[in-house]
């Protein structure tokens, strides 16, 4: 694991800075410097401890991965009319089902925001975790935008992570703000045949639990049954012009994980018989050289009321036509 350890360390400093953790760690005591260094090492260790690193090591060079049991599955998802829900930066309330308690923490390893949440970045009150102390795309705040359109044609053929994949995704998603600007995401010129910190199953996966306690994808989303998901590299556009490419794109069709007032659910609040499609363009890019992720705000071109540019897209489509069959 020595090689992995040195690969990870270079990404950690920029991550800490991005998360504001470096400052948070620098206590005002006389031994601030010592503490800071110790916590930096701890953070480094946490990123290195992403739970699937061993699993990925066994799969990511495989040239001849096996196919799905029962054969490939083709999936088509469309939304022709209606709006979308756009997540705004917010502090995620921490679910004890996923994150445990300060005395017995869970889901702490991996790149924060991509994987687990380090205990040092969790608010604590009365012996319980309160919230992830950094703004992220995974919270309760949202706005709606009009003219949400989604078109996905996909194939899940390859079962496991590997060096190559037979999976395929063609996705186009768009929506419009009040001023009439059209935002668009297209994917995937390339699929993530294997993951960096957690598996991606050849780039497309069907019928699998993701997020939350699964530790596949960020734990800031609830544990959710996922009928279809993909990870790949695609393009982000505004008014027909590419504003960012290539970018990491993740989409998933899951059971419904919003509750009253569109608040992001805890695990025990998920609604199994309603579906939603989530599109995510995170403020991170994979750092293959160092085996992790680095902060990289997405230039969406959409300004928030405070003048700040929204640094990610996390968009939900909920009026879906879904078709699937064994191909």
């Amino acid at each position: 694991m020595k090689q992995g350890s040195s690969r990870v360390s270079r990404a950690v400093v920029s991550l800490l800075a991005g998360l504001g953790l470096a400052a948070a760690f620098a206590s005002s005591s006389a031994s601030a410097e010592g503490n800071s260094q110790m916590q930096m090492q701890m953070m480094h260790k946490l990123v290195e401890m992403a739970p699937y690193r061993g699993y990925l090591e066994a799969h990511d060079k495989e040239q001849h991965p096996l196919g799905l049991l029962g054969g490939p599955i083709s999936v088509s998802i469309t939304q022709k009319t209606g709006g979308v829900f756009v997540s705004l930066p917010d502090k995620r309330r921490l679910d004890p089902n996923v994150f445990g308690t300060p005395k017995m923490p869970r889901a702490f390893a991996g790149t924060p925001g991509i994987d687990g949440v380090p205990p040092m970045a969790r608010g604590v009150e009365d012996g319980h975790y309160t919230e992830f102390e950094k703004l992220s795309p995974f919270g309760d705040k949202y706005m709606v935008m009009a003219d949400g359109k989604l078109s996905i044609q996909a194939l899940d053929a390859t079962a496991t992570d590997a060096a190559t994949t037979q999976d395929r995704v063609k996705m186009m998603a768009s929506w419009k703000d009040k001023a009439g600007n059209v935002y668009e995401v297209r994917c995937c010129k390339m699929l993530a045949a294997h993951g960096v910190e957690y598996p991606t199953f050849g780039g497309v996966v069907t019928n699998q639990i993701l997020h939350g306690s699964s530790r596949i994808g960020t734990s800031l989303m609830p544990t959710e049954y996922t009928y279809f998901a993909f990870w790949g590299m695609g393009q982000v556009l505004k008014n027909g012009k590419v504003v960012a490419a290539p970018r990491l794109i993740h989409g998933m069709l899951t059971e419904y994980v919003r509750t009253n007032g569109y608040k992001l659910a805890f695990d025990n609040q998920v609604t199994p018989t309603r579906l939603q499609f989530h599109l995510m363009v995170p403020p991170f890019m994979p750092d293959m050289a160092h085996g992790g992720f680095k902060q990289d705000p997405l230039p969406t071109g959409f300004d928030l009321p405070n003048g700040m540019q929204l640094p990610f897209w996390h968009v939900m489509f909920e009026n879906l036509d879904i078709h699937s069959h064994r191909a």
């Binding site: 709006g83 709606v144 419904y256 919003r258 007032g261 009026n319």
Partner: protein, 137 residues
């Protein structure tokens, strides 16, 4: 006549006037009170506004989708994710608007008294629930 009913008439005078005329004729013929039309809006905040209306047998509710989202107005027990989100009085028939596009209307005339609890299919879990209480004449 309620303000909401007046507002509807102002927006679409022709059809509503005709409806009103026939309602007036019926009302005078039978000697009963005039049937009302009450308006409820589906919103971007995933609410029916007002969330609860009280009407009388024979009155009509018109749901207007004032949102950029597609909503439904659904009172069909077998379509509800949670049994508590839906209710139909004895003798009342289930109703469902299907997908209501932005700016579209759906109307339903209530003929059986009792409490109706309805929901929006895509946003039921997000708390998009409504209630119509229908009192006897």
């Amino acid at each position: 006549m309620s303000e909401q009913a007046t507002a509807i008439m102002t927006r679409k005078p022709r059809g509503r006037l005709l409806a009103l005329c026939s309602a007036l004729i019926l009302a005078s013929a039978s000697g009963t009170a005039l049937a009302k039309t009450v308006k409820v809006q589906s919103t971007d905040l995933l609410k029916f506004e007002p969330a609860k209306v009280v009407i009388h047998v024979g009155d009509t509710v018109v749901w207007h989708n004032a949102s950029v989202l597609v909503h439904t107005v659904t009172d069909v027990p077998k379509l509800a994710a949670k049994a508590a989100d839906v209710a139909l009085p004895k003798g009342a028939k289930p109703f469902n608007s299907g997908n209501l596009q932005p700016k579209a209307d759906f109307r339903h005339r209530f003929t059986a008294p009792g409490t109706y609890r309805y929901f929006c299919i895509p946003h039921e879990a997000a708390g998009m629930l409504g209630e119509v209480v229908v009192e006897p004449k």
